[in-house]
Amino acid sequence: MASKKNNSKEVIALLRRMWLIRAFEEKVSALYAERQIVGLLHLGIGQEAVAVGALSLLRDDDLVYGGHRSHGHAIAKGADINKLMAEIAGRATGYCGGKGGSMHIVAKECGFITATGVVGGTIPLALGAAFAAKERKKRQLAVVFFGDGAGQSGPFHESLNIASLWQLPVIFVCENNGYAEFTPLSAHTKIERLAQHAKTYAIPADTVDGNDLFAVREVMSQAVDQCRAGKGPAFVECLTQRMRGHYEGDPAKYRELSQLAEWKKKDPIARVARVLKNQKALTDKELAAMESEAQALAEKAAAFSLSSPWPAEIEVDSQVYAAAS
């Protein structure tokens, strides 16, 4: 049924979304280099196919939880890139009024519930959302993104256990980019595929090429259908690679350039573009236009952010506690 979803019109929209993420993150990276943005930044350049592929199949009212590398997930769920960039820049006009920053994006209006700075920190939160959804019987889903680094943390295992026991409508999306912070996965565990853990807890799991938009959608659509039908959790492991270091400013010496060159061949955006071209759905000219369009939007977001006011100091001790409702 995924193939049905892949009519070229829709694929073009997806490509546009992928370009938007790429352009957005490259702009963020540039601003960081110029010291116009400070703080701890984690970019997902090269992982766009996972975010867009996975979230393109969700309903607006599905709930998404991210990790520390989640700009792309927020955009894929429909976040406003102006508010997103402004948040990363610590401005008053940001989604969180400058209180959250890059690692703590919350865009509730579009169902991106929260990111976290703690590896694997939102996995249990997603269980809760799934529990609530199940109770409300609205066939809502919770989707949580995390990296392979989270696979060695206790709460990850506790969560698989509980999700399976209680048959919760949650989809675990593992972005296995082969690196936990600075260390290759092989140095962290003897398990090559994190999907194996899900299977241990009797959760249906699949591993796909995360740089292949169509493959991600194929597997994800099965997961969504199963979850939506109330048949319990699903686990989708996407093998991908990030082009950047762990955080901006990380020299990333621990990765050989050959790997990067290798990766460039697999660039998820180029791959989709190729397909559309072969289908004669888009010309080079249109593709180029799409790219510059995205870059223009990113530029506008940057301009909006940098011209936005800093939060007022009075803001500093507001919103520590919610006022009685």
Binding site: Y95, V106, K108, I123, L125, E158, Q319, A322, S325
Partner: protein, 331 residues
């Protein structure tokens, strides 16, 4: 909601149960999570709730404190009003990251977009020689965390009233019960009466000295006050009930009147909530103080298991009285 029979005399434990029951009846979004809660929990606090409201609202969880805490927080981000029971406060150590890095911060980090109406029920304290993994009082950790509220009821009425406020609060509230108080009895006013979080209670009026006592130390403090009254020393006893936010105004006003104060709690003195109370009071009413504020709390040691050691470890009426005498007549 349907009316409940009023219960003049009730144990602390039953008061908590009826508080839970009334709130679950009042609001279908209230859910209970915890180990064995559907079976009543280790002390029977949640007894019967699964039968009344169904096992889907009184949920037995695996022994996975970290994840169950996160799960409860997650249900709160999705609109429920979870109540999670951590069997012993000692085991909250296992859920610290979810509680401190997530529950306490999500509202603020999200610029107010998210609310976490979470109640964390734990029981603490020394009762029955359980040793250093089942007897601790760890409230000051939690009072140190902006975004959390922390309450410590000392009697059945406050237990029920504060629990209701905690469940109705839109913020994460840690509700710290004392195991040693579970079977103590007291008057409990008619249902639906909640006790405001952040308001101290004046337990006894006096003019010569103020005792600020928490949780299990309120009773010995009142006994000490009686003992001293016989000697003509008039002692005022205040129970803060909530330690975050702290009702410093009530305490400071009392000290303005008495000019002398001691603080007593069961937790280890160093880094305890007493330190915060002393600092605040001396800052607010320094020039009213006639003698140093003394803390009567546990020594800087893990809780020993042996009963004699336990007794030595526990602050008690005797030590409170001695401290009061020192404060009245500094040597």
């Amino acid at each position: 909601m349907e009316p409940q029979p009023t219960m003049p005399e009730q144990t602390y434990l039953d008061a908590i149960r009826s508080g839970l029951e009334e709130e679950m009846r009042r609001d279908p979004a209230v859910y209970i999570f915890g180990e064995d809660v559907a079976l009543g929990g280790p002390f029977g606090v949640t007894k019967g709730l699964a039968e009344t409201f169904g096992a889907n609202r009184t949920v037995n969880t695996p022994i996975s404190e970290a994840t169950v805490m996160g799960l409860a927080i997650g249900t709160a981000t999705a609109g429920l009003r979870p109540v999670i029971e951590i069997m012993f406060i000692d085991f909250i150590t296992l859920a610290m990251d979810q509680l401190i890095n997530h529950a306490a911060k999500l509202h603020y980090m999200s610029g107010g977009q998210l609310k976490i109406p979470l109640t964390v029920r734990v029981q603490c304290g020394i009762s029955g020689a359980m040793g250093a993994h089942h007897s601790q009082s760890l409230e000051s950790w939690l009072a140190h965390v902006p975004g959390l509220k922390v309450v410590m009821p000392a009697n059945p009425a406050d237990a029920k009233g504060l629990l209701k406020s905690a469940i109705r609060d839109d913020n994460p509230v840690v509700f710290i019960e004392h195991r040693g108080l579970y079977w103590s009895k007291g008057e409990v006013p008619a249902n639906e009466q909640s006790v405001a979080i952040g308001k101290a209670a004046l337990m006894r009026e006096g003019t010569d000295l103020t005792i600020v006592a928490l949780s299990s130390m309120v009773a010995p403090a009142l006994a000490a006050a009686k003992e001293l009254a016989a000697e003509g020393i008039s002692v005022e006893v205040i129970d803060p009930r909530t330690i975050s936010p702290l009702d410093i105004e009530t305490i400071a006003n009392s000290v303005k009147k008495t000019s002398r104060m001691i603080v007593t709690h069961e937790a280890v003195e160093h880094g305890g909530i007493g330190a915060e109370i002393v600092s605040r009071v001396q800052q607010e009413v320094f020039y009213y103080l006639d003698s140093p504020i003394v803390r009567v709390a546990a020594p800087f040691a893990p809780v020993p298991a042996g009963p004699t050691l336990e007794n030595k470890f526990l602050p008690n009426q005797e030590r409170i009285v001695a401290a009061c005498r020192r404060a009245i007549a500094p040597s």
